[in-house]
Each structure stands twice: as C-alpha cells, then as structure tokens.
Amino acid sequence: MFGYHGQYLRIDLSTGQSGAVVLSDDVLRRYLGGVGLAAWILHRECPQGIDPLDSANPIAFVFSPLVGTPLTTSAKFVVAAKSPLTDRFCDSLSSSRFAIEGKKTGFDAIVITGRVSRPSLLLIEDATIRLEPAGEIWGQPVPSTTSELLNRLGPGFAFAVIGPAGEHQVRFATISHDNRHAGRGGLGAVMGAKCLKAIGVRGTHRTKVADSAGVVAAARDLSVRSFGPATAKYRELGTVSNLLTFNRLNALPTRNFTTGQFENAEVISGEILNDAHRVTRASCAACTIGCEHIYRDSSPNDQRGVRLEYESLFALGPLCGVSDRDSILRAARVCDDLGMDTISAGATVAFAMECAGRGLLAVPDLTFGRGDTVLSLLDRIAHRKGIGDLLANGTRRAAAVIGGDAQDFAPHVKGLELPGYEPRTMQAMALGFAVGTRGADHNRSGAYEVDFSPRANRLQGDEQTAAFAVETEDRAALMDSLILCKFLRGVFVDLWTECATLLSLVTGWKVDADELHSITRRIVNARKLFNIREGWTPTEDTLPRRFLLEDLPGGGKLPAERLETMIRAYNLARGWTDEGWVPITNL
C-alpha cells in the first residue's frame, strides 16, 4: 500500500484501551483522506444522537495520502466530530507539522473517544500512547501552553492544544497548533469536554509513494507554479486585500449584516494594514505560497504580532462596527490566544451589539464600534463569565434565550455563524451557506468563486447558479480530501485530471478525473447522510429571515422564493430529492 498505513488508531480515554482499526484499500480509494475519510470514520465511530459534549462523541484527526510527500501545501489534516455548535457534521482543516508527525505515528487517522477525569496531555509516539497530567497548564492560553510543552518534551513532538475557551467548552472553541487553528464548529470544546488540554504526536513511520521520481518531478513543477500569478494575491497582499473589494461591491458584512458597506473601510483596509502594521510574512509547514501576513499593533508592547486574514478582519472590524486597527489586531490575537473561532466570536459579539441596541440585552457599552467592548467581551466569552456564558453558546442558542425577534437576525445557518460574504449581493454564496452541511460555510462551498465571475449574476441567483455551486463544492471536497491548499486552485489548468495524476503517482492507483468526480459526490453525500442521521430536516437549509425580508441598503435583495428555487435546483443537481433527502442508505 502506497500513501497510506492502512489503519487508524482508536483511543478510548475512559477505558484506557487503544488499538489499530484496519482501513481497507476499498475504503481509502472511495474516500481518499482528509474530509472524505473523516466522513466515513464519523459514520462508523460516532453514536447516533450523541450530545457533542458527551464523552462518547469521538474526535478524529485525519491525514491524507499526500501528507509526507514533497508536494507543496500537503502538510494538512482534518479534525472532525459532531459539532457542539451545530449538532451536525463538522470537519475543520488545518496546516502544520501536526499532519506530518501525526501520520508518522503509523496511522492514517487518530480517533479519540471517552474522557479522562483530570486535565491531561495525550502523547502518541509511534505505537506508544500515554497520558500525562496537564493540571499546571490547564487555564493557560495557547502560546504559553505550547511553550511549556516544548520545554517539557522537546521540539520533536507536534502539538494540538486548546485554550481557555476549549476548557470552558465554548461552542466555537478552536484547536491550535503552530499558530494555526482548526477553527470552525467548536471542536476545541469537544477536546475540552474530554479534559484533554493537548495532544502531542511524534513518529518514525513514513509511508512510501508508488512513483518516487514522478512525485518529485510533480512536486517541483507544482512548487514552481505556486510562485506564479495565480497565488500572487496571497503572497503579496494576503486575504486582507478582500476588504475593499467586498466593500466596493456592497458585499462587506457590516454591523451584524445590516449593511454591505462600511464607511471606514479605507481606514482598516488591507492596504493600510500592510503599510502601517505588517512586519513579516510566513508559511505554514511544507508550503511555498507563504500567505501568512503578520501584523503588529501600534503599541510598543506588541512584540509577537498576529496573523490576520480577511475573515478575522471583517468579523472583528466592520461586522462589529469597529474601525480601530489596533483593536482589531488585538481582538484577533485574543481569539488566537484563548482559542476561539474569530468568525463565530466576531459574529456573536456583533449579534449581541444589535440585541443591546434593540433593547433585548441590557449590557453597558455594548454598542457597535466599541473596540474595547469587543476585547472585554471576548475574554468573558472564553471564560464564560457574566453575559459571556450566554454568548459562548453561539448566536442560535443565545437568540433562543434572548427571545423577541432575535432569531430573525442571529447570523447563522444550522448554528454556524456566517463568514464575510453578504448573501444578498453574493447569491451563489448565499446558496452555499444555506445548503452547507457544516452550516454557513464559505470554505466547503467555494460558491463565492461563482459570484466573482462572469458566469453568474451575483445579484440574481437562479437555477444555473445552483449547478455552479455544485461544481465549486465538489472541487472543495476534492482538495480537502487529497489534501491540498485551496489557494493553489488557480495554478491548475485541469484540476481534476492533474489531481488524478498526483494521486496515481502517490498511491499507484490508476485514477482518472471521472473517478475523482464520483468520489467527491460520495463524500458530499456522506456528510449529508450524517446530518440526516442526526436529525436534519429541509427547514435547516435556509438563511436567517433578515436576509430574506430586508433589502440591503445600496442594492441587494434575496427573496425567499429565489433562494428556495436555487436550493431545489441544487438538490436535484446533486441527485437528491428536491427537498434534499439523499436516496442512498449505505455508503
């Protein structure tokens, strides 16, 4: 077997039992790795109807056939579990040495179930698994936790850690490693519920590839292409450059999605940030693109800086009405240090601000534009203090408690807060949000590419929009299963054929584009079937009433009937019923 070990490691923290579970060649070929294999594993390991914070909810760290090869951006892995934010399928991608060292333990995935009785560190070193006390680092933020672990164990291990937010089971807590984060869906809370502060991996088992010379040549070619114009934006500007683009197109979510333009966008633009605050650029492990732009705030005390992406910038800036760059940078760093998803955190704060403005919440200084309030609220959320305890459950649950018409403007789909794309002026993305199995999710959908193209009218979605949305979703599933960074997508001339070639070189399988199309459809189906198993109904595939009833100032309207037409077309294009039921009962 090439590219794989052919097994995953299953650890039961409650019983102390662990063992290898065989992964057949058939399963691996049908689900590849990454999000695909994660979907298969969760179907097998996750008990139906389980509370996501129950000890029996497994959390899976899943690698892929390309991990450990010289292919650029291949040091990626997926964390998957039933999400405590959505109660639905959640897979969260991340990039770091954890992927490489994790796979070198000798397993294609590591699945952890049960819980320990006291804060612990789980160490996996080849076939040796041990638990060590973590009481002295419980409560510490991510950076000092990681430093402490490195001091204790040396540089050979790679760590995945949670911050105070995960410990307090904040429903959008992240899992952090190498300054990167498995961000969406609250999987940090799943680790926290298991009393696991950190997982360390180290190993010596490398997989072989079928055609070493071919893989090396392909890697060289891909690296060269990764330096070209298709990735220039990420390398030279970073995703923060999206802010002014979106603002100009009335697509920049502002003040809890009440408008699509922010009057102070220029002040916090990527261009200004790059001129005034950027200090360096970096890459994640095994990556030649180098999309990480590190910024420092204005204070002389900020020596660390923070990596800032568009999503964090929009969520902690315009979405909360904040136009102070230092506040935004500090807020992003607070989220990283405490271990929280910046998108959900920012959206939850913005939602709370609107609730306060409408008289639904009585919290002092909780007004749009208050960067200091954002900072203090983030800390309270991470530690579940005061109003933070309510908001730590995300906007859907908070809205249910707050009452009134809060549900109408709580910015989530299936419980997952919307990222930085205004649905009324990006209607392909609106569709992607509504039908996404993770919830409101730009990453698994990719439908914003349709909005940013001549193929569709971003202001008037229709049935053809649905066909395009299926296409981008399949492409995302492919890249997230192989796993390759989506920032590479523009370097491929024929993504499907070229990826089939890469996979064949690594695994020795004779794979073609048609087979990959079939595999991605299976993966999308598997995620949807998991949700159906866990209680999904067609009523979940929608957007908050705000987007369907309120016209966006400056232009932008998405009537419910139009969204429903697109959703029906999407479902039929997927081979499902028009309501979205999947006519497949086994995988």
Binding site: K233, L237, T245, H442, R455, N457, L495
Partner: protein, 109 residues
Amino acid sequence: MGIRIVFKCDSRKRNQVVTSTGRVPRVRVEFYGLARLRAGRSDLHIPAQTVGAALSAADTACPDLRIFADDRVAGHYLVSLNGDRFTLDPQIGLKDGDAILVFGADAGG
C-alpha cells in the same frame, strides 16, 4: 481555472460609444487588490469609448498592470462595469461617469 468562458455581451448597445455632444465619455477605472498593487494607484480618470479602450488606457498609464492584450482581459483579473456583473467583453460601450472596476481574479477567500 482551465476553461475559457465565452461571455455574451450585455444588453447595452454596442457602438453607443460617443456622447450626444460627440465627446468621448470620461470614465473612472478603479483598482482593487492585486490590481491596485500593480497599478500603483487606486483609480484613474480617462476618456474611453469601450471597456477595452479603458483597460488599454489603464495599461498605458500603469505599465505593471498588464490587464489587456490581444483584445482580451488577462486571466488573473476580473472586470466589472459599475459593480454589477463581471464581464470579459471589451466591446461594451461606456457613458460619462461609468466606473470600470478591476480586481484580481481570486477576489474571494
């Protein structure tokens, strides 16, 4: 991404390229993202009869831009007229006050 899109001209009349006074329309070319970095400026005010003419003029004013050649928009840019639909059609006629928005092709996430 490997497939060339053939885009139909929008509903604006072709060849409606000269104002009623006979003057070539004055339009604004706006640059965002990578286009702004390459252009070295945020916008440009120029006379142009068509989208293609405006982009050619932008290339002349901003040599590092390289957005328009062989009557086509370069693959790593996106162009929108007035922020409405994106377009690849250089023949679209312009009127006074139109804005041609230029973005990097990977304008999303």
